[in-house]
């Protein structure tokens, strides 16, 4: 299943990146969000680390919705979805493949958002930066597991991005809270409650939605128009 998933992921990435516009829309939206939020400060003022981390994760969450809409839209033309469904691999390989592709694209986008947040929102990097980075990786796993499951809702183009975001965002609350708290610590080295409990929470989120994805994806990804 893993090789099939990797094949699907590499196909998606090649298709999206070769077009040149693959990640551009998501990147621009995220950057615009960061820039617009930077206007909430007066000139010369510096945003608090928690505010900056919240904006970073907000940009990531919006970006992720666009990424999964694009990833699942690839197969909508010419009935290509039936090709994937007819392939002699478990249908979960599609979920895993889309998840891997989404994870890669989200990380690329965050590699741009992070410096943008530091520059536009006037942040510094604290000695806890490596914990912040680990949290980004761990949180992204859960985010894409859920995104790849619910992204399939847009199959047939009946459900648009707006619907995916209102269903997805509240579900992401635990992982976003963890990302924001640890992110704030990575900017300012201040987290009285400790990072372990937050990391445990994100790991639980990952495990739960990786399991839910494997069990539930075959139900949402089917041959219906």
């Amino acid at each position: 299943m893993l090789s099939a998933a990797l094949a699907i992921a590499s196909k998606d990435l090649r298709l999206l990146l070769s077009r040149g516009t693959g990640l551009v829309q998501a990147l621009l939206l995220g950057l615009l969000l960061i820039f617009v939020f930077s206007l909430s400060q007066r000139v010369g003022e510096v945003m608090g680390p928690q505010g900056a981390a919240a904006i970073f994760w907000l940009a990531s969450a919006f970006c992720q919705v666009l990424i999964f809409n694009t990833l699942f839209a690839i197969e909508e033309a010419n009935g290509a979805r039936f090709g994937l469904l007819l392939a002699p691999v478990p249908v979960q390989a599609v979920w895993l493949g889309k998840g891997i592709a989404g994870f890669t694209l989200l990380l690329c986008a965050q590699a741009v958002f992070l410096p943008a947040a530091i520059v536009f929102l006037g942040q510094t990097v604290s000695p806890l930066w490596h914990v912040g980075l680990a949290t980004v990786l761990l949180a992204d796993v859960g985010i894409v597991a859920l995104g790849a499951l619910l992204g399939a809702l847009s199959q047939g183009q009946a459900a648009r991005e707006s619907l995916l975001s209102i269903v997805l965002f509240p579900l992401l609350v635990p992982v976003l809270l963890a990302g924001i708290r640890v992110g704030a610590a990575a900017f300012a080295d201040d987290i009285p409650e400790g990072v372990e409990s937050w990391l445990g929470l994100v790991a639980a989120f990952d495990a739960l939605f990786l399991g839910a994805g494997i069990v539930l994806f075959p139900f949402v990804y089917g041959g219906e128009e």
Binding site: L146, A159, L163, P170, L171, V173, L216
Partner: protein, 228 residues
Amino acid sequence: MQTNRLSPVMPLVGIVAGLALALCQYMIFVYAPVEQTMGIVQKIFYFHMPLAWWSLISFLTVFVASIAFLRTRNWKWDALSGAAAEVGVLFSGLALITGSIWGRHSWGVWWTWDPRLTTTLVMWFVYAGYLVLRTLDLPRERLGTVSAVVGIVAFLDVPLVFLSARLWRSIHPAVFASKGGGLEAEMKTTVIACIVAFGFLWVALTWLRAAQRRMAARIDVLATETTI
């Protein structure tokens, strides 16, 4: 062949709910004493807590009915999950409003990062989105499946939302957990009576909406057959 008649027990549950709620009003405003520090505002609690509890039961019902639908493909489970989500969103919305009024009076703020309040708010958002999803113009089979999947995923998230909000901050009073400083006997009796009364209301509303949903689906099928 599905029966199209409503169960005769259903109106009965509604009547019992009405009578029980009337009795609760008496218990809340006459039987239970006025709380010393909070005064009359404390009476909100008798509405707030049953609403919050039964909204959680609603969401649990959506979860169980969604699993049952995916396993059996019986449309009665789909109707039940839709009905329970509607009642859950209504009840949790009211619980949020009453909780907010309570918070303003006792903590001086309309909103606070309390785990239970936050969990209720996030659940309200999730299930409001779920209800929007259910109105999509999709084939019935696909809509039922997609709704069931979201219904399951949404409930899996509840414990994590609660834990994350608790890590964030907590000042909610633990009513039944506290020893000694808890409620007076009359207050406790009133709360339990309210929980039971709202339970009857919950059953009556959910049952009625589920029956209406089944009938609407049946009318759709009949209309399609007639057109053909």
